[in-house]
Symmetry: C2
Subunit: 311 residues, 2 copies
């Protein structure tokens, strides 16, 4: 997509989302040794950036498709986002959720009017359940991170950052399914060539790190991370974009994630979810790389189960 088309994506999505604030913290700048700007998608509607992609994907369907509804499988934030985006646009949303998804995300999905079908927590079970719903209802399947229009929508988070604070030397973005970082790559390519895009991942699910090395999509052996939004793997549509445009992936330990999360909660008084803390942990860990630079960090969401905190 060229500049104009990407601008159209933003214009289409913008009336349905919040322009979230770009926050900075003297203490975070001091601790990291660089100039950090947090794009606070934890304050976004439904608590994460995912509503951007969900909204864009629904709005690119024709009215007949819209009337039959949309279906997805998601461990959490995309489920809530699609439910709310669909509700806002008067479209039915069918959500397949693994039966071990955090309670707060199930409750959120229900409160936004999503119609939940539970399944076993495997990719296969998710896909089978989604296909069944698709056949029965005629709903359009929207993958949380591999659908092209979802990817474009997610990239609008970075487009807004450029309006809020000109160019960045680096963007650090958590990598789960790869939709957000791929969307950022597409916008950066057109609007901010000088920005280097860095991924952040837990060691426990470092599939993107290994995929960039092997140049093919690697799976995760375990999903043993507190960053529940990052347990999924890259997709056929977003991987080529990531391979071409992402410079480096920083891996962090579970301890570093929890400590970064606590740091932001205690000192900035904002609630970020573990998946977002991964990027904070990354800027603190490889601070030599970012010394004196202007670094944008996507705080992807704030949906945390307060009954199940790591501290």
């Amino acid at each position: 997509m060229k500049k104009n088309d990407l601008q159209h994506v933003y214009d289409r999505v913008q009336p349905h989302i919040h322009m979230t604030p770009l926050l900075s913290s003297r203490l975070l700048n001091y601790s990291s040794g660089c100039e950090v700007y947090l794009k606070c998608e934890n304050f976004q509607k439904a608590g994460s950036y995912k509503i951007r992609g969900a909204t864009n994907a629904i709005l690119t369907l024709n009215s007949e498709e819209q009337s039959r509804g949309v279906v997805t499988h998601s461990s959490g934030n995309f489920a809530q986002a699609l439910s709310l985006a669909a509700k806002n646009l008067g479209v039915p949303a069918y959500i397949v959720m693994p039966n071990n998804a955090p309670k707060i995300k199930k409750d959120g999905t229900l409160s936004y009017g999503g119609i939940i079908t539970e399944c076993q927590p495997t990719i296969e079970a998710r896909e089978m359940a989604s296909n069944k719903i698709k056949k029965e209802t005629g709903a359009t399947f929207l993958h949380p991170s591999n659908n092209k229009n979802v990817i474009y929508g997610q990239g609008t988070a970075f487009f807004e950052m450029l309006q809020q604070e000109a160019e960045f030397d680096y963007i650090i973005c958590p990598v789960g399914g790869g939709g957000l970082i791929a969307g950022i790559c597409l916008f950066a390519k057109q609007f901010s060539v000088k920005t280097q895009i860095i991924g952040a991942e837990p060691y426990e699910v470092d599939d993107a790190y290994r995929s960039l090395k092997s140049k093919k999509i690697e799976k995760n052996i375990t999903t043993n991370t507190i960053a529940d939004g990052l347990r999924t793997t890259l997709g056929s549509n977003n991987f080529p974009i990531i391979l071409e445009n992402v410079n480096h992936i920083i891996r962090v330990t579970e301890k570093e994630i929890i400590s970064a999360m606590k740091f932001i909660w205690e000192r900035m008084k904002i609630i970020i979810e573990p998946s977002s803390a991964v990027s904070i942990a990354a800027v603190l860990k490889e601070n030599d790389r970012f010394k004196g630079k202007k670094v944008g960090i996507i705080i992807s969401g704030g949906n945390v189960d307060l009954e199940d905190l790591p501290f």
Copy 2:
């Protein structure tokens, strides 16, 4: 004080503090049935509004007094605030703290350079320790809530709200030592006569509620509340102001406080301390009173011990 003098208080304090945001939430408006604006002093320097009063009080001392330092006793937020304000202005700060104060508040005080003396958690022990330091160092004692210049400084939070969002029908403010609500009364009298000022208190420490009824300063029998900032009682300087200007005090249960705190954390993604949740609980509890009105709520602070959460 007249308008001009209060404007001077603000001009004196302003360069040393943050202009904190005034946030609203569609969900909170829906749940309360009124138009709510949160003055987010949880994002203030040192994590609470207390730095306003601390800064004003130090700046009204002469340079000889400043060089001898300031001393106070505080269970938490004023300790941190005075330490940071004093550090910013190059003044020594001696802090008497009860030995059961939350760890995060002790750590904060130390990190801002405050010199801590621990004492038993009684008013008598606090006063004895403060007097000893005053004698030994010549430091000026600044009471956290009953010093007149502290009271004026705290009121600047409301002055800023009026710049951010014109007039309010109501202000709801938590009542502990009474410094904040008294300061708000003084500014409201000059700049927003139509605003009704409502206090919020836990049932467990409802000394202000009882004091307004009996027209004399009542003590608390227990301090058995999660709202650790509200365990103290009113003072001789702030009580007459409160008696004259506060219309009503809403009392809430511990359960209501915790539930309000969780509501704000989960849905607004900001960290507020239990003392601030008391005001949220109040607007939800007596929502009939506020129906359709414009209500300002002071979120007094965000200093919470994450290792000791009620959920």
